[in-house]
């Protein structure tokens, strides 16, 4: 133990390793410490968590039924939520007064400052619903406290059929965000299995798998998706279509993951500590689960996070083209599809901007989050 006095003095960042906490910090703790330094990723993580919470509690958060139409409010503009009325705290929106512009033959809506409609939190919903699919509830996060005929609450405007865009975007998050997760989960299974086989067995199997991956990656994605999506029978129930679509979008996603896993397998197999484990008499399966998998787990998580946005975008693209999900299913892609014509964009830009903003924010946040995770994926780089 005399060599403690002769410790090679540490350079730079590893100085703080004498810190007792870090001495006993495992891989995930070091991962977190390194991730924390990436401020944008940290903010993105909060945004992502928030968005998934919104998606999970969509029924509670959306004030209106996303499929409820109202002919009276076709293309109604966003209504401003004001917090005060007559000098006292009283959240309200102003009633919309509709006039018909005879020149352009368009309905025009004017908020009427004299007619506030009170808005409250935790109001009773028009219809009971099941939160998360199994908790019966009839309370909404916010809504009109006392809805009358002619009252409306469209904070992000209404569409062609007078449906509430806000409620539709919130409900769309359910499908759009989960399709990324489900797709990535499928990629994970396919990628880790096939990549693991490829890296572990090597030889002609590896060769075959790698060439297969190259072939898959060389197919242009949009025509491939279109071809596959066109093969889905029209009469299928929406849920089944949803799963087929996730399968289609994850068809390409697994290839990059398989390569990552294979590369990690190959580089780790010749590491001294893996050889040491083999000499200890550990079986190959034991080595894989005791040494290899923990070593590339963090890399896989980072790669998966970076794969989610491409899944979301793929779904959006497919639905936008009209070959993905179809109404009555609500997804951000479906919402964008409804904003496809120039008249809608000119007359009601909120049709386009609300779902687009949701997509951009979630994709950007996921990308930043993935970058942060990737940078932190090997917390030992700077340490050793």
């Amino acid at each position: 133990m005399t060599d403690i006095t002769n410790l090679p003095p540490d350079t730079g960042p590893s100085l703080d390793l004498r810190n007792k906490d870090i001495a006993v910090a495992g891989q995930w703790r070091l991962f977190w410490l390194k991730f924390k330094k990436h401020k944008i990723a940290l903010v993105s993580l909060v945004v992502i968590i928030f968005m998934y919470l919104v998606a999970a509690f969509a029924d509670f958060i959306a004030p209106l039924d996303p499929n409820a139409t109202n002919a009276r409010f076709t293309y109604a503009p966003p209504q401003m939520l004001s917090l005060f009325h007559d000098g006292s705290f009283q959240p309200n929106v102003k009633q919309l007064k509709m006039t018909l512009n005879t020149e352009s033959m368009r309905r025009e809506f004017q908020p009427d400052p004299a007619k506030p409609i009170p808005v409250g939190f935790f109001v009773k919903a028009a219809q009971p619903y099941d939160l998360l699919g199994f908790i019966p509830m009839q309370t909404k996060l916010f809504g009109l406290t006392n809805p009358q005929i002619g009252d409306s609450l469209y904070i992000f405007g209404a569409d062609r059929l007078g449906r509430d865009i806000f409620s539709r975007v919130v409900h769309g998050a359910k499908i759009s965000l989960s399709i990324g997760l489900v797709g990535v989960f499928m990629s994970l299974i396919l990628g880790v299995t096939i990549g693991g086989i490829s890296g572990f067995f090597g030889g002609w199997l590896d060769l075959g798998i790698q060439r297969g991956i190259e072939l898959l990656r060389s197919i242009p994605t949009i025509p491939l998706w279109m071809g596959l999506a066109a093969a889905i029978p029209v009469g299928w129930p929406p849920l089944r279509t949803y799963f087929i679509i996730t399968l289609i979008v994850s068809l390409i996603g697994w290839t990059s993951l398989a390569r990552e896993v294979r590369g990690k397998f190959l580089s780790l197999r010749s590491e001294d500590f893996v050889i040491a484990a083999r000499l200890d008499g550990m079986s190959e399966i034991g080595i894989i689960f005791n040494h290899l998998v923990p070593s590339f787990m963090s890399h896989i998580i980072a790669t998966l996070t970076l794969a989610i946005p491409s899944m979301i975008l793929a779904e959006t693209a497919l639905s936008f083209l009209g070959i993905g999900l179809q109404p009555p299913i609500i997804s951000w892609g479906v919402l964008l599809q409804e904003a496809q014509n120039i008249r809608a964009v000119a007359q009601a830009p909120w049709l386009l901007f609300t779902p687009a903003a949701a997509i951009v924010i979630s994709v950007l946040s996921l990308n930043f989050l993935g970058d942060g995770l990737r940078d932190a994926a090997d917390p030992y780089e700077s340490v050793s």
Partner: protein
């Protein structure tokens, strides 16, 4: 202020690296003077700040490090004095100093040369930048430089690429580049550390000769006290960013004033002779049945390289067999063949089991191999890569025990005992390897090796990643474990001093073959094979009164028929 002799004067130099938890003082108040035509060695262990000192002079410290304070006064060719510390690191003034007045050569000849340019172009660049020499004049000058650094056939070498040269030749190219502008000062940052000992001797010789012919001053950074003794006029000893002692080389080696210097010299001198515990040990009877009897072992890689070529050796119970050789000699591959990490194609590895039966490990089946691998263990060279960073020390040491069927409180107890045995506090078992220093990590590796009570340990360069002061401690630990547990070692090393310190017998490997084998004393004092003689005579001797590498014996394999020649030189 400074007299005429001083060409570079550094005073109270402070280079700091700001970190998240404070300021790391890499160089903390270093002062020295470099005299015209002399060699000043900066010596210290890893992390002592010696390299940062050298880099500070040319203002090429890596970010976020920067010079906080101090003077770096360079007496220029025209007699004026410039303080380099005050110059802008990216300014024109410092660039006119770099390469032209102060040239630098680095440790890694591989990464300090560009792989995409021809040698001639790279050397010519400095000529073009500083003197505007182009075309035929430039080529002529580059040829002359290549001749000066003794690169064979300079006319063809000038148009070659870096990858076509061996490590030693690349270092010569680096030196040619450094010499291009006739600098007054040459800073050499561990220029021979990545090289084999025979190549190192050639390069040291070359630097010495060039220094004399050009009248250069050399600032030589090294961790190797032997090199210091061979080349230095003056020495500064650094430790944790501070100068512990400075003085003429004679004084440092023979009358060190400082405690740290004394300890450093002590640990170097200690490795100059056989370990004391081994002098008194009874001899191992030569007729004892060998534990391991390797016959005609051969391994040829798919590339056609004969890594192990007809190797035969024996290991007797309780003895330490040293395998010494330079890089590329096949010693590591040979060691790995013994444990069947690689599968040798021909020969036999007869291993005697505790019950007296022998098995041939080369052809042994999986089950036997698994059992034998509990009896024959391995210690790895790299203390970082050989421990999984994701497991605690306790888990790492427990792994072989668990696989051998030990569990519960017995496991806990054994792990604690093993940690004590190798000199680690059992309370540290919850810590991860990143919390330990190189020496401590190597102890963890040793604990893992001895966990299942082995009989033979193959130690592959177990001490070469460690600083010299830790090296003898590690060897002492291994020898005391040998006596306690009745172990035998196959000790693979490129370092003759380590072999001499602890090995009973030694086998010298050269390009896959064993060229000489015998009792360590006999091989060291009376080498029979020319290669052994060359190897021994190239080792720098840590005594400035006995400089001898310039009198070394050179081995030329072309004079004798030999197998594949390693690419060093």
């Amino acid at each position: 202020m400074s007299n005429n002799d001083t060409i570079l004067k550094v005073e109270n130099l402070k280079t700091y690296f700001p970190t998240r938890i404070g300021i790391f003082k890499a160089v903390d108040g270093v002062s020295f003077e470099l005299k015209r035509g002399k060699t000043l060695c900066v010596v210290g262990e890893s992390g002592s700040g010696k390299s940062v000192t050298a880099r500070s002079i040319l203002q090429i410290v890596d970010r976020p490090g920067r010079i906080e304070d101090g003077l770096i006064e360079l007496t220029r060719a025209d007699g004026s004095v410039t303080d380099l510390a005050k110059l802008d690191p990216r300014g024109k003034d410092i660039r006119s100093v770099r390469g032209k007045e102060i040239a630098m050569i680095f440790q890694e000849p591989m990464s300090s040369l560009s792989p995409v340019h021809r040698i001639g172009t790279q050397i010519g660049e400095a000529l073009r930048i500083h003197f505007g020499i182009r075309g035929q004049a430039q080529r002529a000058r580059v040829l002359e430089l290549l001749k000066q650094v003794e690169i064979p056939r300079p006319e063809t070498a000038i148009d070659r690429y870096t990858f076509e040269f061996s490590g030693g030749m690349r270092q010569r190219v680096m030196i040619a580049m450094a010499l291009a502008c006739n600098p007054q000062v040459l800073i050499a940052d561990e220029p021979t550390t990545a090289l084999d000992v025979t190549t190192q001797a050639e390069i040291l010789d070359l630097i010495k000769r060039l220094q004399q012919s050009h009248g250069m001053s050399v600032l030589f950074i090294t961790h190797d006290m032997g090199v210091v003794a061979e080349i230095a006029d003056e020495v500064i000893v650094m430790y944790r960013g501070k100068v512990m002692e400075r003085g003429p080389v004679e004084q440092i080696f023979h009358a060190p004033q400082d405690d740290y210097t004394r300890r450093l010299i002590g640990s170097v001198v200690k490795l100059e002779k056989k370990a004391e515990v081994r002098l008194t040990r009874p001899e191992i009877p030569a007729e004892a049945a060998p534990l391991l009897d390797v016959k005609n072992l051969s391994l040829t890689f798919a590339s056609g390289l004969k890594a192990v070529d007809d190797v035969s050796l024996i290991v007797r119970p309780g003895e330490t067999l040293g395998i010494v050789g330079e890089s590329g000699s096949g010693k590591t591959t040979m060691g790995r063949c013994l444990l069947r990490i690689y599968d040798p194609q021909a020969g036999a590895i007869a291993y005697r089991r505790p019950d007296g039966s022998t098995v041939d490990l080369r052809t042994a089946d999986k089950g036997t191999l698994k059992e034998v691998r509990r009896e024959v263990r391995m210690i790895f060279q790299d203390p970082v890569g050989s421990l999984s960073p994701r497991k605690t020390v306790g888990q790492i040491i427990a792994e072989p025990l668990k696989l051998a069927g030990v569990s519960g409180s017995e496991l806990e107890h054994r792990v604690a005992e093993l940690m004590r045995q190798v000199g680690l506090d059992p309370a540290w078992r919850e810590r991860y390897p990143h919390a330990f220093s190189g020496g401590q990590r190597q102890r963890i590796g040793i604990a893992r090796a001895i966990a299942v009570k082995p009989r033979l340990i193959i130690a592959d360069e177990a001490t070469s990643a460690l600083d010299v002061s830790l090296r003898s401690q590690m060897l002492d630990l291994m020898m005391s474990l040998q006596d306690q547990l009745g172990l035998s070692y196959v000790f693979i090393s490129h370092d003759m001093s380590v072999i001499r310190y602890m090995c009973d017998r030694v086998a010298v490997m050269y390009s896959g073959k064993i060229v000489e084998t015998g009792e360590t004393d006999q091989v060291v004092n009376n080498p029979q094979h020319d290669y052994t003689r060359a190897l021994l005579s190239a080792i720098p001797h840590p005594d400035p009164r006995d400089r001898r590498i310039h009198k070394r014996f050179r081995y030329d394999p072309t004079l004798k028929p030999s197998g594949t020649v390693s690419a060093n030189g």
